[in-house]
Symmetry: C2
Subunit: 269 residues, 2 copies
C-alpha cells in the first residue's frame, strides 16, 4: 500500500474502539474502507495480553496515563490485576475495580505494568503475594514496565538486576539496591525493561510503548487523539528546574519513607 | 515570614497528605516544623468542596490528571459524583467508584469538574438528571471546569453562554452552538469558567487551578511531585503539528458523533 493508505488505515485502527458505537448508530457514514477491519494490515491488530497491577495506595495517574494509550491498542486485552476483586483505593482516594486477580491472570503476558506510589508502594514491596505475582509474570512477559516508584516493586521482584532503569527523581538512587543502574531520564528502555520517571512520565512512556508494540504512526495517532501537546504553566516539574529549596524540602519529606524502602530492599529477590 | 520559610511551608503542605502515614511510622523523623500543621499559613489549608462528575464512557485520563492535582490540595474534599453509587466504566474500560450520588452531593461547591469522552459524552448530554445536576451546582460553584468534550456537557447545561471556552480540537467548533466563543488554546480561563483542551490538557489545567485556589508556589510543589516535565516522544499532539492526513482522518472518523452532538445541542439550556 502507498503512504497515503498507510496513514488512513493506521488512524482508523486507533479510533476504532472509541468510535465503533458512534459509527454503528450514526446516520452519516464514514468512507466504507474505514469500517471494514479486514482491510487493516494484520500488524495493526494484535491480541496482546496486558496486565496492569493495582495495590492499595498506588498513584492513579501513574496507571491511567499508560492505560489510556494501551486501551487504544486494537485487539489488546488490558487487565487491571489485584490480589482480590475488591476495589483498590489510590493515594488520592480514587477507587478502581480490578478485572482479574493475581491467580486468574494470564500466565503469559505481552506486557506487565506496575504503578508507583508512596506508603502503598512500601507495603507492596513487602507483600509476598504481590511480589510472587510480579516475579512470576515478569520472568516471561514480553515487556516489563513501570512508572514512578513502580520500578522499586520490579526491583524487589528481582526483575531489574543488571538493567538500566529510572524511577521518581526522589527515589532514583534506591534502584542500585536492586542491582540496577539508576538513569536520570524521562523513560529508560533496556532490552525489554521500560521504566518511566515520576507520575506524569507515564504518558511519555505509554506512547513509546505503543510505538514499540505497533509502530510510530500508530503512536502518533494516539498522541493526536489524546491531544498530547503539553503546556505546563510553570517550570518546576524537574529537580533541575524547580527552586532548590523546593527540591531540598521534597527530599527531606521523603527521607523516612525512603529509609523504610531501603530496609525492605534487603529482602529483594 | 521570609521567602525561605514560605517555600518550606508550601511544600510541607502539599506533601502532608501523601507522607502523613509514612511520617507517622517512620523511625527517622523530619524536622519538627514540618509535622505541625498549625504552623502552616491559614491560606494553605482550605476546606474546598470539589465535585468531579462521572458518567459511563467518560475518558479516565481527562479526570485523573486533575484529580491528582486536586487530591494534593490540603484540606479539600474531592468527591467523585455519579447518578448512582455503582462503578462507572470509562471508554477504555476502567471502572471507578463514585463517592457521592448527584442527590447526596454538597449543594455549594468550590469547584465543579466535568470530564469528556466520545459516545458516553453524547449520552451524558441527553441525560436530564446529569444535566440538571451540572446546571444546578454549576450555577453557584466557585469554579466551573471541564477537560476535553466535557465542555459540551457544560454547554448543554447552559453554563458557557457568553463565555470563551475550549474543548478537544475535533469538537471545538461545536461550542458556538451553546452560545460560547470557541478558543483554540490549551486552557481557557474566562471569569470562573476554566476549560481544557483534549484529554491530556487536564494536567496543565489542573496545575493552573491549583495556582488559582492556592498560589503559584503551591502549584509548583505539586508539579515537582508529579515530575511534570513532559517529553512527548513524537510531535503529533496537536492538529497544527500532526501530519495533515492524520488530522483529516481523525476529523472524518468523528463526523458522525459530532453530528449527533450537534443535534442534541438544540435542546441545550
Amino acid at each position: 500500500m502507498d503512504r497515503r493508505e498507510f496513514h488512513a488505515v493506521a488512524l482508523a485502527g486507533v479510533l476504532a474502539a472509541m468510535t465503533a458505537s458512534a459509527r454503528a448508530t450514526s446516520q452519516t457514514q464514514a468512507p466504507d474502507e474505514l469500517h471494514d477491519m479486514s482491510e487493516f494490515p494484520a500488524s495493526w491488530t494484535r491480541a496482546d495480553r496486558i496486565a496492569m497491577v493495582l495495590y492499595p495506595g498506588f498513584t492513579a495517574l501513574d496507571l491511567v496515563g499508560p492505560q489510556y494509550m494501551f486501551g487504544n491498542l486494537m485487539g489488546a486485552t488490558v487487565d487491571l490485576v489485584a490480589e482480590t476483586m475488591a476495589p483498590v483505593e489510590s493515594d488520592t482516594k480514587l477507587s478502581i475495580l480490578p478485572t482479574r486477580t493475581f491467580d486468574d491472570c494470564a500466565r503469559e503476558l505481552d506486557l506487565l505494568f506496575v504503578p508507583g506510589g508512596g506508603q502503598g508502594t512500601l507495603a507492596a514491596m513487602s507483600n509476598e503475594r504481590l511480589i510472587d505475582f510480579v516475579a512470576d509474570r515478569g520472568a516471561r512477559a514480553g515487556l516489563v514496565t513501570s512508572v514512578c516508584t513502580g520500578s522499586l516493586v520490579l526491583g524487589q521482584a528481582g526483575l531489574l538486576r543488571g538493567y538500566r532503569a529510572t524511577s521518581h527523581w526522589v527515589a532514583l538512587s534506591l534502584l542500585s539496591d536492586f542491582g540496577a543502574t539508576p538513569v536520570n531520564a524521562r523513560v529508560v528502555e533496556d532490552r525489554n525493561r521500560i521504566t518511566g520517571a515520576g507520575v506524569s512520565a507515564g504518558l511519555d512512556m505509554g506512547l513509546r510503548i505503543v510505538a514499540r508494540m505497533r509502530d510510530r504512526e500508530y503512536a502518533e495517532a494516539v498522541q493526536l487523539l489524546a491531544e498530547y501537546a503539553p503546556q505546563p504553566p510553570f517550570n518546576a516539574g524537574s529537580p533541575a528546574t524547580a527552586s532548590p529549596k523546593l527540591v531540598a524540602m521534597t527530599e527531606t519529606m521523603f527521607v523516612g519513607l525512603l529509609e523504610q524502602m531501603r530496609a525492605v530492599s534487603k529482602h529483594a529477590r
